[in-house]
């Protein structure tokens, strides 16, 4: 998938949340592989993806946890919210119920992340404008009232997908620059570049006990 040297200054942790079938995994794959998966099966538990991006000349590695939308995974997937620097909250513009549940997703996010976590609202499936069930204006107002960033996007055509992930990273990076995000806090969701260049940083050092060297 990703080739070339793992050379980056920061690691940002993201989560993707929202109701079942809104296209969370398709957004992830569009972003990491630039591909649309036509019939995406329901995610089991959590899926993980990475991509290195550039913000203000700094290479940043995004570690993205895509959570399953099915209710039976909800209790355990909540633990993935902890220490997220960015949260992409997704609904489907053609299904009103997925929009109506946003306040419950938002409450969870606010309770389980930290105040500096950037929350980005995505109205997915913008290519299906004919079947629209939620207007842009209404969602924009919801986003403004709750201090969220917002776009309508399409995992199918790729429209605005890149923007959502990148704008979130820019906002996080800005928080670091402004000193609003404490890099030393364990829950910040941001890590510094590894000490030795070119070597990927393990998020959880204890997990490395399988190393035979």
């Amino acid at each position: 998938m990703t080739s070339g040297p793992y050379n980056y200054s920061y690691i940002f942790k993201y989560i993707i949340i929202g109701d079942m079938g809104v296209g969370k995994s398709c957004l992830l794959h569009q972003f990491t592989d630039k591909k649309f998966m036509a019939d995406c099966p329901h995610t089991i538990g959590v899926e993980f993806g990475t991509r290195i991006i550039e913000v203000a000349g700094q290479k940043i590695k995004l570690q993205i946890w895509d959570t399953a939308g099915q209710e039976r995974f909800r209790a355990v997937t909540r633990s993935y919210y902890r220490g997220a620097a960015g949260a992409l909250m997704v609904y489907d513009i053609t299904r009103r119920s997925t929009y109506n549940h946003l306040s419950s997703w938002l409450t969870d996010t606010r309770n389980l992340t930290n105040p500096s976590t950037v929350i980005f609202l995505i109205g997915n499936k913008s290519d299906l404008d004919g079947q629209r069930d939620v207007t842009y204006e209404e969602a924009k107002q919801f986003a403004d009232e709750n201090g969220l960033m917002f776009v309508e996007a399409s995992a199918k055509t790729g429209q605005n997908v890149e923007e959502a992930f990148l704008e979130t990273a820019k906002k996080i990076y800005q928080s670091i620059q402004d000193g609003r995000l404490d890099l030393n806090a364990a829950e910040s969701g941001v890590q510094h570049k590894p000490a030795s260049p070119g070597r990927p940083l393990a998020a959880q050092p204890p997990a490395r006990d399988n190393c035979a060297c």
């Binding site: 995994s25 794959h29 998966m37 019939d39 995406c40 099966p41 995610t43 089991i44 538990g45 959590v46 899926e47 993980f48 990475t50 570690q63 039976r72 209790a75 355990v76 633990s79 902890r82 990927p200 940083l201 393990a202 998020a203 959880q204 204890p206 997990a207 006990d209 399988n210 035979a212 060297c213």
Partner: protein, 150 residues
């Protein structure tokens, strides 16, 4: 953290779901949900004993709760891969892919398992290589000592 096999459950989470499971066990009625949540945490533990316990619980679920089969197969594969039972892990992956051949999440897991097997295979070869070199060094030293004696 490079892939899902690297991920480790936090001890608070493990304890939280363990408590629920044991409470239900005590009352004599364990729900599929509680057993799955506990097993899902166990297979992500850093201790192989926990992982093995998680595998047993998942096998039980696999046999008693057909609706959740794909979830159980997936985490059986993850658990086995994490204790380096790669062949068993690949067996579960294969069973999954027989039902859903194009599942990206499972295909990605398969690639990660293969990558680990390859990497650990290479480490084995590298260690054998070092042993040969060391042996060669000893023989060389022996020859040098022997020739000095003359």
């Amino acid at each position: 953290m490079e892939d899902v096999l690297d991920e480790v459950v936090s001890s608070e989470d493990l304890q939280k779901f363990e408590r629920v499971f044991h409470e239900q066990l005590h009352l004599g009625k364990v729900t599929h949900k509680a057993q799955f949540e506990y097993a899902w945490c166990l297979v992500r533990s850093k201790y192989p004993t926990d992982i093995r316990k998680g595998i047993l619980l998942l096998k039980e679920l696999f046999n008693s709760h057909p609706e959740g089969k794909r979830d159980y197969l997936f985490y059986l594969a993850i658990g086995n891969a994490r204790i380096k039972e790669y062949n068993k892990a690949l067996h579960y992956v294969k069973s999954f892919l027989e039902i859903e051949p194009a599942n990206q999440q499972v295909l990605a897991l398969e690639r990660q398992i293969n990558k680990r097997m390859e990497k650990e295979g290479l480490i084995g070869i590298a260690m054998a290589g070092t042993a040969v070199l060391a042996l060669g060094g000893l023989v060389g030293l022996g020859v040098a000592l022997a020739s000095k004696k003359k």
